[in-house]
Symmetry: C2
Subunit: 240 residues, 2 copies
DNA sequence: CAACGTTCGATCGTTCAACAATCCGGCGTA
DNA sequence: TACGCCGGATTGTTGAACGATCGAACGTTG
């Protein structure tokens, strides 16, 4: 084993030693706080307060803000600073338009149907069923997200995965808008209503995928998403 | 006309007075230079030289770099600076995977088929035919880009338009890789070969769209893109 | 009292200068 | 030739500064 084997094995671990810049860490942190709802939509993010809170320079912070603005998680208004995005109902509609195209397309074009990618779908469905049985509807929500990410992952395309991740992040913003507008706490009964019916529909689609019936899964997903959009949009219209 | 009419008419013009920050302008400028090939793939962009050339601060420049890195037009390596991206053949394949999903999906889900959106497709096709007749194959290339943008525009979704714009920008990088690797100038005969056959195929698809045969147009587009990918990938493989 | 002009503090946009960390190439040594 | 080391150059990050702009409070005027 003179050379080639070493380098190949080590080259595979190259990703492990990628150091991260401060900007990246700040961006990741803020993104997390935003999509988890700890920074609710509409929150004004003053540069100085954030700088003091995070202990970084203002310039570093501005780079992170710029990035998150590009991801549509923050809105950037000249001389007025940044605030957490508050998706409009038009945004929700657009989000679902894109979602239909990406998810349905990814399932229909699912390339090589690698074993691990298919099992990831099944795993997400099972996690959702378990969480539903436990009555943990918040956990059902995240499992649902993972299910859709796994579905899109079938296309085995890094760019599609990225697009889907950004899409779901923005969609979470929409959910937070409903949870925080007007009344304070989020109604657990309402989130239950959102996810309840989808647990079994997820199962159905996952089974179709496992059986290689991609076209059937795609069309099922199509109506699935149309229903979800309608449900979300009516809920959106209720609180304005 | 006491009030309401004024404000409505003025509110429509609100977009005209959006001022642009320096970072935005620098970003737009650099993006343009990159996709036009004036900054060929692989070019190292030193911060100080760029700062001196553009007459902006280093921090401002770094924000622009960060943005373009997020768009995958620049690669950012810690402590090594940024350079114009050089898409690999794997990138090209991924790009086309995404392209198939977005374009085909957009055509198939073409929502309201607004008059202006359909005519935009026809216009791009005609511009391509005209340029082909004139033998201006570079112009044929840009018309081709506009054709695909118009196709995707049928979905009438800002996010899909953005995604497509970024996708095409990255794809241009791939073309520049072929044009600049090894030998210097780009071979006009080769670019002619790339676009020649697609002029009439564009026309066919556009006619199908105009006749409302969206499904037929979508399937035609599917094979169209598969052919284009194969052609580009073999050309890519030739020069390595 | 309602509409308008002014002032002022706070915040943002941008620049500049500094320093540590890191990279890269060259040089000497074994 | 391979290795270790050093120094210049570039990047990463910070801190401070200054003008520009915003928003709200205040006073003025009709």
């Amino acid at each position: 084993m003179t050379s080639a084997q070493w380098v190949d094995r080590l080259a595979a671990d190259r990703s492990l030693l990628e150091r991260t810049s401060t900007v990246e860490r700040v961006t990741d942190l803020l993104r997390q706080r935003i999509i988890q709802g700890e920074l609710p939509p509409g929150t004004q993010l003053s540069e100085v307060s954030a700088k003091d809170a995070l202990g970084v320079s203002r310039n570093t912070l501005r780079e992170a803000f710029r990035l998150l603005g590009h991801e549509r998680l923050l809105v950037h208004e000249m001389h007025k600073g940044v605030s957490v995005r508050k998706p409009s109902s038009a945004d929700v509609a657009d989000l679902y338009r894109l979602r239909r195209i990406i998810e349905v397309g990814a399932v229909r074009h699912a390339a090589t149907t690698k074993r691990e990618l298919v099992t990831a779908v099944a795993r997400a469905v099972r996690a959702g069923e378990q969480a539903a049985a436990d009555g943990d509807w918040s956990e059902v929500g995240t499992a649902n997200m993972r299910f859709h990410e796994a579905l899109v992952g079938l296309a085995d395309s890094p760019r599609i995965n990225d697009a889907m991740a950004g899409l779901l992040a923005e969609l979470r913003l929409a959910f937070h808008v409903m949870s925080t507008d007007e009344r304070g706490g989020l109604d657990p009964e309402r989130t239950r209503g959102f996810y309840e019916s989808y647990v079994e529909r997820n199962r159905a689609i996952a089974d179709q995928v496992a059986d290689g019936e991609l076209d059937a899964a795609a069309t099922a997903l199509e109506t699935y998403l149309a229903d979800a959009e309608a449900q979300l949009l009516t809920a959106y219209a209720e609180r304005t």
